[in-house]
Amino acid sequence: MPETRELVIVGSGPAGLTAAVYAARANLHPVVIEGIAAGGQLMLTTDVENYPGFPDGILGPELMTKFREQAGRFGAEFVTADVDRVDFGERPFGIWVGDTEYRAKAVIISTGASARMLGLESEQRLLGKGVSTCATCDGFFYRDKPIAVVGGGDSAVEEAIFLTKFATSVTVLHRRDELRASKIMQERAFANPKIEFRWNSVVEEVAGNGSVETLKLRDTVTGETSELEVDGLFVAIGHDPNTQLFVDQLDMDANGYLVLPHAGSTRTSVEGVFAAGDVADHVYRQAVTAAGTGCMAAIEAERWLEAKAHAEGAHAGAQPEGAGRSG
């Protein structure tokens, strides 16, 4: 069995890296298994205008680079790979990255959330050929072309605004009759002459031979169907928590979010496993709330480890060493 670490952090968005800063400063020597999607959702964004401390805004990837540098400065170790399997049923906890095994007394889960897809066969077929989930990556390919964005939240509106730099027109398709996006983003979108809205609209099919040519839409109120000719479709209909790894190990709700049974705490259903950021938050989902809960998780993990060491120390005085381990 490999050396047992005090703390392993899984995930490296604002939650995981803030936890790493705090844990490293508490001398827990955390290992951050940052994942192939290191940096998380902010790596796919452009300007972050609501993270305090950056009055002129900052680019998402740049912000995450700073987070990582800060954690590294205090000695956090990074592993750039995805976790394949965990075992929280035994102690120390087991975490596997390929053939490499990690053992940890405490774990912080901050695996975040990933973009949700529409779930259409035609969407999969044309992924990368007109269907995209990353406006900052792919906007460039739609210079002087008409495109559509499906979704009604902040990320959909932000993508629509960004895409007007390239596209001739951006049609926002939303299944409701009003946006969920923040007021400031809504106002910017309504003021943008290149953005048009189609309310109560759902995409039934993405059609095209080699690449996207037409969207088949249905009006959710009247049931009428229509077609929209576009060269690209950007999907921004929300996110699903990345919790597949923890099925049967940690309690989660019907939507897959980790359940935190103790109000005001990042403790999960398994003692010694903590969760921070979007993986357990379907309400706020902000970089700053993720960072905040990351801090909480690190402090809670530190205190829990300390209490456990203290209890084991007292225990070991009365009994032969290792006697208390099975509990």
């Binding site: 192939i36 790596m43 990368g128 995209s132």
Partner: protein
């Protein structure tokens, strides 16, 4: 490490990719693309570990739009595997090294 990955352009693409003896995986990428940066280290490792079986090349779509257009690349990262100058496999989006190796198994086995 960097020597194991060639850089190709609109001008050199046909000669480099068409004239290769092994399959060539071309990574269509750009500076502004976060997921492209995520997969770069895995591609570098694969280039070294499977040298002689598959060659890996990078094409910057920002500087070389013609080649990207020619192969209908509309999303990055897109990885296209060429054999005898013809595209035979297309992978879209960022994937981990394990997944990449699985997807490329037919070329590196």
């Amino acid at each position: 490490m960097a020597d194991d990955i060639q850089t190709v352009s609109d001008a050199t693409f046909d000669e480099t990719v068409g004239g290769a003896e092994t399959p060539v995986l071309v990574d269509f990428w750009a500076e502004w693309c976060g997921p492209c940066k995520m997969i770069a280290p895995a591609l570098e490792e694969i280039a070294v570990e499977h040298r002689g079986r598959i060659a890996i090349a990078k094409l910057n779509v920002d500087h070389n739009p013609d080649t990207a257009r020619r192969y209908d690349v509309m999303s990055i990262p897109t990885l296209l595997v060429f054999k005898g100058g013809e595209p035979v496999k297309r992978l879209v989006g960022a994937k981990g090294k394990g997944q990449l190796l699985q997807d490329l198994a037919e070329f590196i086995a």
